[in-house]
């Protein structure tokens, strides 16, 4: 029993440290590649590590009219809540450490917690610009949660028609049974639409261009984060890095859970190594197309446009995907 617990703690530390480091590296790649696409040299890939170290030694200013305890607590809540998500996701081809203790529905709720923490931190800052940013973040959440929920529910429901009685919302079950090979042509089109919806929700979840509306440096001077500095800002920075890994891993687990070890006939340690490497590439590809390419190609949209975009076309795409999957199963 104590050996099992020790093993779980050890694995937990690896997940926590590994997820954070990975997020920082992907953040560095994001900045480097975005710069290269724009004809700039860009910072070194290790730049996010320097940024966090620098933030930790900078002064941690709390504005005069801020609600101090809330203002200081929210960066910690944001980081801790987003880090818990790593434990419910299959990472590197391995089963989720807490796979039996939480499913996709829990992940849907947990994804909202870091954003709510940022909203509360923004309101607690006692600054008009941070308040406007916090209001925008709330509207963003209300906008993208619906298509995200439709995507998750459609995948779980479709799998339930093939595997009645199974825990179809469990990430382990979803990752072990990719739907691409199960459904017919209509279902494949439905899955493509759901995948597209998730890829558009991803930059919104991460508050990246064109959905960096709550921060909007050129309009509201960083908005929700305008007053944060020093070590509090470092916590939000780390939370953002981990959330990038979470969204990439979630997309991979739901739509591309395949490994390479079986294909090349490797097992054991070498099989794990090649599966981990393949997982890192898959997460990178998701981040590359959902975040890096999109933020280089588009300008920031307005909050009203974002609400309309998610409630009409993107919800429409995800509902159409759900309808096609339903038709595929019953027609």
């Amino acid at each position: 029993m104590s050996g099992t617990l020790l093993n779980a703690v050890w694995q937990g530390i690896v997940i926590l440290v590994g997820g954070t480091l990975l997020g920082m590296i992907y953040k560095g790649l994001d900045r480097k590649l975005a710069a290269q696409m724009q004809g700039r040299i860009g910072p070194p890939i290790r730049q996010p590590f320097f940024d966090v170290i620098k933030l930790m030694v900078k002064e941690n200013v709390v504005p005069d009219h801020a609600v101090g305890w809330l203002y200081n607590l929210m960066p910690l809540l944001s980081l801790a809540s987003v880090a818990t998500l790593l434990f419910y996701l299959p990472l590197g081809g391995f089963q989720p450490l807490l796979g039996g203790f939480g499913d996709l529905i829990l992940i849907l709720y947990l994804l909202a917690v870091p954003s709510i923490a940022m909203v509360l931190g923004g309101f607690a800052a006692g600054s008009p610009l941070a308040t406007v940013g916090a209001q925008r973040e709330m509207v963003m959440m209300m906008a993208y949660e619906f298509p995200l929920a439709i995507t998750f529910l459609s995948l779980g429901w479709t799998l339930s028609t093939f595997m009645p009685g199974a825990h179809v919302f469990s990430l382990s079950v979803l990752a072990a049974n990719p739907l691409w090979g199960m459904v017919g042509p209509l279902g494949v089109i439905g899955l493509i639409l759901l995948f597209a919806a998730l890829m558009i929700v991803t930059p919104a979840e991460l508050a990246k261009i064109p959905f960096d509306i709550p921060e909007a440096e050129t309009e509201i001077a960083g908005g929700i984060l305008a007053e944060y500095s020093g070590r509090n800002m470092a916590m939000f920075y780390l939370a953002d890095a981990i959330k990038m890994v979470v969204m990439g891993s979630l997309t991979v687990a739901l739509f591309f859970p395949y490994g390479l070890s079986g294909l090349v006939g490797l097992s054991g340690a070498w099989g794990s190594v090649i599966d981990v490497a393949f997982y890192l590439v898959k997460v990178f590809v998701v981040i590359f197309f959902a975040v890096i390419v999109v933020r280089v190609a588009f300008a920031r949209i307005k909050i009203g446009q974002a609400a309309r975009l998610f409630w009409l076309p993107i919800t429409g795409i995800s509902l159409l995907g759900m309808l096609l999957l339903t038709l595929d199963r019953f027609v």
């Binding site: 406007v132 916590m235 009203g304 609400a307």
Partner: protein, 113 residues
Amino acid sequence: MNGLTSGFGAWNPIAWALLFVGILVVSFIVRSLGNKGYKRGTGQTKVFLSGNEEPDTPDALHVRGDHLYWGMIDGLSAYYRRVKAWHTGILSDYVAWFVGVLGLVFVILVLVR
């Protein structure tokens, strides 16, 4: 460790709470390694207002609550215009809507069955 099982998935709130508290403690320790100091009562602690004079009272910095859902209402203005027009404030109208929707749900249920 027992949790909640829906038949389609599971959630164990105690496991999540333990994990959350554990990571919160780790995050707190990491943050405490950073600099906690700043210069109180200086211009540093005035909020950023794009170069405008910062007022001394919090009330003067307050953003009203009716702006909260502005983005949503503006983005879906066509929908809200129509829905607001239906809100007459007359109780019998709301009861009529309730009965009508209930009837529609029954018809759908009968059709589905």
